[in-house]
């Protein structure tokens, strides 16, 4: 396992600059997640690290040494593709053994057998070893392709949305397994996803990518509690963060288009800014300081989303359990004052 470092990676495709100077590092043994919407450049970044695509500018270092001139084989990474990418005419065993049988490794056959069996055991696919890959289900195929990555000891695991082709149940199960596996093996992993839940649950650190630029790098707590800008704030968390245009007047914050106002926190706030409130920080209570009309409820079982109308604004509030509030009722609520997020008009966080 090794420390992987990207500095100022630029990649241009005809008509579009996919990466506009990306720098981050994945530490030894770390589970690092690249999070971003479609077209952010996540897969391109991964392919550049693997050596499948060449960057136009910038350097990639493994343990301090540049690998820019090395071929994918020489870089010794393991890549899990979104589309499984199993060799269709071979059995599961042969697929798992494939990387070990490479001429440059020359492992004895009984060593290969042992390693494949251990890997199959870990991923619970031992019973599939003699099957041809074409007859496997999606979950089994993705297990095999993860197996093909972990059967050897690469310097870094590169995973390109490995769970996104699976159905929700399977995705959850495999997510937990992957996380467990990574912690047990202590493997350096770079995991690409557009799913914020995957990112928040699995990552040691997250880099949020958008349009070829990194918006923020940090732990899941950093990303969630201290989003660097409105883009990051909106990307993580369901339901989404409430964002309202707001203004400061006489030490009070006013939300535009609504009756809501509250004493300004002790911040150097500009006159106009964007106020962000996480839905769970809007807490209904009988003697709450604010009031609104209940417009919609979305009961999810463990929690319920309330859409509360105040003036022209609708706030989403997340409460635990179910509610006996009715649509049209007046709801009183409080805001958790020390968890308010303020962003300037360019979207940057104001601290």
């Amino acid at each position: 396992m090794s420390h992987v470092e990207l500095s100022n990676i630029v990649k241009r495709f005809p008509g579009v600059t996919a990466l506009k100077g990306i720098s981050f590092d994945v530490r030894d043994g770390e589970f690092f997640v690249l999070l971003g919407p479609t077209g952010a450049g996540k897969t391109t970044t991964l392919r550049i690290i693997a050596g499948l695509t060449k960057q136009d500018e910038g350097t990639i270092r493994f343990d301090g040494e540049s690998v820019d001139a090395l071929t994918p084989a020489e870089r010794d990474t393991a890549f899990v593709f979104q589309q499984y990418s199993l060799y269709p005419t071979m059995t599961v065993f042969d697929n798992l053994a494939f990387p070990l049988r490479a001429p440059s490794r020359r492992l004895p056959e009984d060593e290969i057998r042992k390693r494949v069996e251990v890997t199959a055991e870990k991923l619970r696919i031992s019973h599939l070893l003699d099957r041809k890959t074409a007859h496997l289900s999606g979950g089994e195929m993705q297990r095999v392709s993860i197996g093909r990555a972990i059967v050897r000891e690469p310097r870094i695991f590169l995973m390109d949305e490995p769970l996104s082709n699976l159905d929700a149940k399977l995705r959850e199960a495999l997510r937990v397994e992957l996380q467990h596996l990574q912690k047990v093996e202590g493997s350096t992993t770079l995991f690409v996803t557009h799913d914020q839940i995957e990112a928040l649950t699995m990552a040691d650190r997250i880099a949020v990518l958008d349009l070829g630029r990194i918006r923020q790098i940090g732990t899941p707590e950093d990303i969630y509690d201290r989003p660097a800008d409105t883009f990051v704030a909106q990307l993580v968390g369901t339901p989404r963060i409430n964002l309202f245009p707001a203004r400061r007047e006489n030490n009070h914050l006013y939300i535009e288009g609504s009756e809501l106002h509250l004493p300004a926190p002790t911040l150097d706030l500009p006159e106009r800014f964007t106020l962000g409130i996480r839905p769970e920080d809007i807490t209904p209570s009988p003697d709450g300081a604010f009031a609104g009309t209940l417009q919609i409820t979305e009961p999810l079982g463990v929690e319920t989303i309330l859409h509360i109308r105040s003036g022209e604004r609708t706030l989403q509030s997340l409460i635990p359990g179910m509610t006996d509030l009715r649509i049209g009722d007046t709801v009183r609520f409080d805001l958790v004052q020390d968890r308010l997020h303020c962003f300037d008009l360019d979207g940057k966080r104001i601290n």
Binding site: F81, T89, F98, A102
Partner: protein, 318 residues
Amino acid sequence: MSVQANAPRLSSQERARRRYLTDRAIVNLFIWPTLILLIAINLFPLFYSLYLGFTDYSAIARQVPVWVGFKNFSDILNDQQMWKYFATTGKYALASVGLQTLLGFALAMLVREKFRGSGLLTTLILIPMMISPVVVGLFWKLMYNPTFGFFNYLLGFTNPSTGPDMLASRFAGKVVPNLALWAVVLVDVWMWSPFVMLLVLSGLKAIPDYLYEAAAIDRASSWFQFWRITLPQVAPLLLIAVLFRTIEAFKAFDLVMGMTGGGPGDQTELIAVNLYRQAFLGQWRTGRASALAYIVLIIIIAVSNLYIRYLNKMRGES
């Protein structure tokens, strides 16, 4: 049609039924002309020739077919000469299909990657396939001509008496057995390798890139990638190309007729050429020719079956 007489006064129900019947009628109207045509020019000759195969009959004689049972078949199968023609056809099929497959595959690998002018090159390669075989035969007959042909000139033989005369199976005046057959094979390969290329190319384009990328990361050599990824993925289409070409090789007639007419001697007398000779040239032995046609048909069906079985097995596995 009787419905039409009282067409003006129809209840909506009846009208609906009429429309239903009319749909049927339209379907029949479209299908039957085609079916009649097929029956007249495909099915009838097929069964009539099967019947003729069991008779002594000549199409130009004023005589009704005389039933002779399996005599035609046993005559043909006991005729050493016929076995020789079968052997020649087998040799021809093996050589031309084999070479076409190799060359077609190689061409497909070559134009697989996009480069400047690759589209134009692909089209150029496909041209031989589009020319009529008789025309191709005549062209090559001229090109093979030892005195003014292009072929010898390109090989560096400018003096006709020291160079090969391909279609006469001679080299510098000496007899080289089978040279004429190879000459025909060469033309067939020239003409039909593009067909194999076309099918293989569509197979190659369907192989997803990520398989190669995964293999590259797994440190597989390009040789290994070819054997384990490219070939198995293309194999079904390649096999279809081989099947088509094998069937065609057994039926090969126009090209050979245009170039050698079966000669010199009977060196390029393929079974289809001989069939034509027996049926229409000189002898007009319609009964015997029909029997021979059926023997060829049975061979082709048998060979195709082998291929198809293998193809299905391969598909079942992957």
